[in-house]
């Protein structure tokens, strides 16, 4: 499994020399225990759960402990249903899980945005299409599911407390309606796509609900949860109210939703299994990953069932899931084309061979740093740039994580061809790959070392001939930089295989 960088030369040599039969399984276990695993999962699930950040949130995801929370969740291998529950309930018990509230908080009191981003996690679905009408193609996705999921969050509100950002929740209100295609209004009841519903007593038309401290568990009076309503004029973006602590109602819609989603919800396990499978194979058993509806049948239904059941029975054990998939014969297949019995090439959804998996921005960036052996100097700069700046440049060029179809862009090629950022990683600097190659005695040695470092294999005969010939016609520095450029920008490096 490639976590977020290619194997270093030492790791690779150790793997090849190890003659133990279970060497692959052991390698997988080593990787699962490594920092790289936690970081890779954090990077993937940060994008899955939060999308690429608006600039103003880049630093806050760090400072509000969101990254730390995800990192810890995967490092400690916390049960996935517990993690999801914490994201939904967002009432941290200690400092460790403080970052969990960021999932809701960054959506800035927008319950629709929250519903749309939790749906892929708990239903395996994009539900945006059901905002204005029942889904036109996958008919089982009802508009009521969309608004039911929204209602789970429409009593909640961002507040700032002495312990940091929090989400308060009211015990009343949030009884809203939505207009269907006929423009008739319908009640947004707590009805969810997995068939669960939470019964609530709806106030009669014109009845006024009354709030009272009896309805709350927490110390702060509910009034504090409400923002002052008579302090005009408002600023463009309302700042969260400052209060001592968030209100916690005795009946919490968030907690009720969390129960319905994380206890006996087979969709939660299926969505995660499909997601991890796609992360490892470059394609989900249901493809695209977020469309686990009646119109997108799984390519191997029994496999999905089995993995989901195993994941659920194991207590939503993510590392076990990753390990199971990595130890399958399918995952260990080679990337070379395979033909089916009738002589046709095997289709991607058969997983009869390893599929292309272009690296994500983060993987690509990490891989380039590792392969070129560029590290931060005393000022914390890598080849003259801060890590953040470099990362941002890569994320801008490679924003997609689980694209249904992969399309390289001309802008990406131009970036590699002419951006100074990559060029500077290839300039010889103390300790980096270019200077190491330049120190070698012959062009052949340089080519061999370059191949082993970048591709993890020695060059073939024709490759060696072309590359040595190429170096021979140029100054050593120009030759080495260009050789490295040609290998690092090629598919063998940029596509996980």
């Amino acid at each position: 499994m490639r976590t977020s960088r290619p194997a270093s030369t030492n790791e690779l040599q150790a793997f090849v020399k190890d003659r133990g039969r279970d060497k692959r399984a052991r390698l997988i276990d080593t990787l699962l225990a490594s920092d790289d695993y936690a970081r890779h999962m954090r990077e993937v699930f940060d994008t899955v759960l939060m999308n690429r950040p608006e600039p103003k949130f880049v630093d806050r995801r760090e400072s509000e402990k969101w990254f730390a929370y995800l990192d810890d969740a995967f490092r400690q291998n916390r049960p996935w249903n517990e993690v999801v529950r914490e994201l939904i309930v967002a009432r941290p018990q200690g400092t460790n899980d403080r970052g969990a509230i960021w999932f809701l908080y960054e959506r800035e009191n927008n319950p629709q945005a929250i519903a749309e981003s939790i749906a892929p996690v708990v239903y395996g679905l994009q539900i945006k299409c059901a905002q204005c009408h029942d889904h036109m193609i996958a008919r089982e996705i009802k508009q009521a599911h969309y608004w039911g999921t929204v209602a789970a969050f429409n009593r909640s509100k961002n507040v700032d407390t002495p312990n940091g950002p929090a989400l308060t929740e009211s015990a009343i209100g949030g009884f809203v309606s939505f207009a269907n295609l006929k423009k008739e209004s319908q009640r947004a009841e707590l009805t969810f796509f997995n068939g669960r519903r939470v019964e609530e007593r709806w106030p009669k038309d014109g009845d006024k609900e009354t709030d009272s401290p009896d309805l709350y568990l927490s110390a702060p009076p509910p009034k504090a949860a409400d923002t002052a309503t008579n302090d005009p004029p408002r600023r463009k973006r309302e700042r969260p109210a400052k209060i001592d602590g968030p209100a916690v109602p005795k009946f919490s819609r968030r907690a009720a939703f969390a129960d319905a989603m994380t206890k006996d919800n087979p969709l939660l396990a299926r969505a995660m299994v499909n997601r991890v499978w796609a992360m490892l194979f470059g394609r989900g058993i249901v493809h695209p990953v977020d469309m686990m509806d009646s119109k997108h049948a799984p390519s191997q239904p029994e496999l999905l069932d089995w993995l989901a059941r195993d994941f659920e029975r194991s207590g939503h054990d993510v590392k076990r899931l990753v390990r199971t998939i990595c130890n399958t014969r399918a995952y260990q297949l080679e990337a070379r084309p395979v033909k089916t019995k009738d002589g046709k090439p095997a289709q991607p959804e058969t997983f009869a061979r390893a599929l292309d998996k272009p690296l994500s921005a983060e993987q690509l960036f990490q891989s380039l740093l590792v392969a070129t052996a560029n590290t931060a100097d005393n000022d914390g700069k890598i080849a003259g740039h801060s890590e953040k700046e470099l990362r941002r440049a890569f994320v801008k060029q490679f924003p997609d994580l689980f694209p249904p179809d992969y399309n390289a862009t001309l802008q990406q090629a131009m970036f590699f061809a002419n951006s100074p950022l990559l060029d500077e990683l290839l300039a010889p600097r103390a300790g980096n790959l270019s200077s190491r190659l330049l120190a070698l005695p012959s062009n052949e040695a340089r080519v061999r070392e370059a191949f082993v470092t970048v591709f993890g294999r020695p060059p073939e005969r024709d490759e060696l001939r072309e590359c040595v010939g190429y170096l021979a016609r140029r100054s050593p520095e120009a030759g080495v930089r260009q050789l490295l450029w040609a290998t690092l920008t090629g598919a063998e490096f940029q596509v996980n295989h």
Partner: protein, 363 residues
């Protein structure tokens, strides 16, 4: 959402449906005689109608070549002014049931029209949205956006510039000032006699730029009115959306000190759903006012707000888009102009899709 227990609860008014009158096309504007027995309707098929409330019968008294968008009865009790998307203002004699004057006011639509309380002035606003920049910022006006006419003679009394489209207009009760609001959430107020602009105010909270599907602006100020004492100005519309084509902006009014161009209050957090608000009306008691429009998501598309506190004190899902609203002068009736969705032809005929709804007000 949580009520403040210390404040005495204002006695909440309520309403009940009394009558519904069907029209072939959406009703876009209404007015009423002081006794409330006769109504006037401007409709999407261009028709201008008188409506006898008792019988529910309506009679066509004038026609615009495009949507009829505004209608107001002058204090003389018999002259009716209408405006339309043909850019024309019309004067109708309601007794003789005929159109007595037409004035081409604008090249583009009359989006909105208002008549001064004394019946001497008519203000109308226009302007087509044209792209003025790469990101579809509106271009400057091609014709004056705001015009004020003499109601007696039909003569143009004043014209004022704005950024088109200028979608809403209101005259102060004393007829000295005219206010106009546009697509971009900008309100300008002028002194009609001096021709000078008195103030300007703008908010980004009543307009949208389409991030999602459509790179252009949508929304803006859709209705405006002065408070009965003329000191404050109310504007309404809906809040910003990332996808304007969802129509899901927050239902919103804003109250302004218009002389200083300052915001005083706006719909309170948690008291609104989503949907465009396009009608405002003060109750004759002045204790509360109504705002109405469309319900996209939420509890209501018609609500009353306490004048003193701005609180939502009554709300109702009126089932269809409300395009205009008025209280009869005795305050006992609320009249709503409505537009349903147009239905498919049935048996070779297009079903009616306009409504006037009359509701009793228990205050």
């Amino acid at each position: 959402m949580a009520d403040d227990a210390k404040q005495p609860e204002p006695k909440a008014p309520s309403t009940e449906k009394v009558k519904e009158i069907s029209f072939p096309a959406a009703v876009l504007a209404i007015d009423a005689t002081p006794d409330g027995k006769t109504l006037f309707a401007a409709c999407q098929d261009g028709g201008v109608f008188t409506v006898d409330v008792a019988s529910g019968k309506h009679e066509l008294i004038g026609t615009h070549e495009s949507y009829a968008s505004g209608v107001t009865l002058l204090p003389d009790g018999k002259t009716l002014i209408s405006a339309g998307y043909d850019g024309v203002l019309q004067w109708h004699d309601t007794e003789k049931r005929k159109t007595i004057r037409s004035v081409k006011a604008h090249d583009f639509w009359s989006w909105d029209m208002d008549v001064s309380r004394d019946g001497s002035l008519i203000a109308s606003v226009t302007g087509r949205y044209e792209a003025g920049g790469y990101k579809y910022e509106p271009a400057p006006e091609r014709e004056p956006s705001v015009k004020v006419f003499d109601a007696k003679t039909g003569a143009l009394r004043a014209k004022f510039p704005h950024i088109p489209p200028t979608q809403a207009v209101a005259l102060t009760p004393d007829g000295q000032h005219v206010a106009a609001g546009n697509l971009m959430g900008e309100v300008r107020v002028w002194n009609i006699a001096s021709g000078k602009q008195v103030s300007q105010w703008k908010t980004d909270d009543l307009t949208s730029w389409g991030v999602i599907k459509s790179h252009h602006f949508l929304g803006g100020v859709f209705s405006m009115m002065f408070s009965p004492d003329g000191e404050e100005l109310y504007v309404c519309g809906f809040g910003p959306m990332r996808d304007p084509m969802a129509g899901n902006g927050v239902q919103r009014w804003v109250r302004l000190n218009w002389r200083e161009g300052k915001e005083l209050d706006r719909t309170h957090e948690g008291e609104s759903g989503q949907g465009l608000m396009e009608a405002l009306a003060f109750h004759p008691s002045k204790k509360f006012f109504a705002m109405a429009g469309r319900l996209f998501q939420g509890k209501w598309n018609l609500a009353f707000f306490d004048t003193a506190t701005g609180k939502n004190i009554y709300s109702l899902d009126a089932k269809h888009r409300v395009t205009d609203a008025l209280f009869t002068s005795d305050g006992t009736r609320l009249v709503l102009a409505k537009a349903k969705g147009q239905e498919k032809k049935k048996d070779g005929k297009w079903p009616d899709y306009g409504l006037i709804e009359i509701r009793s007000v228990i205050a």
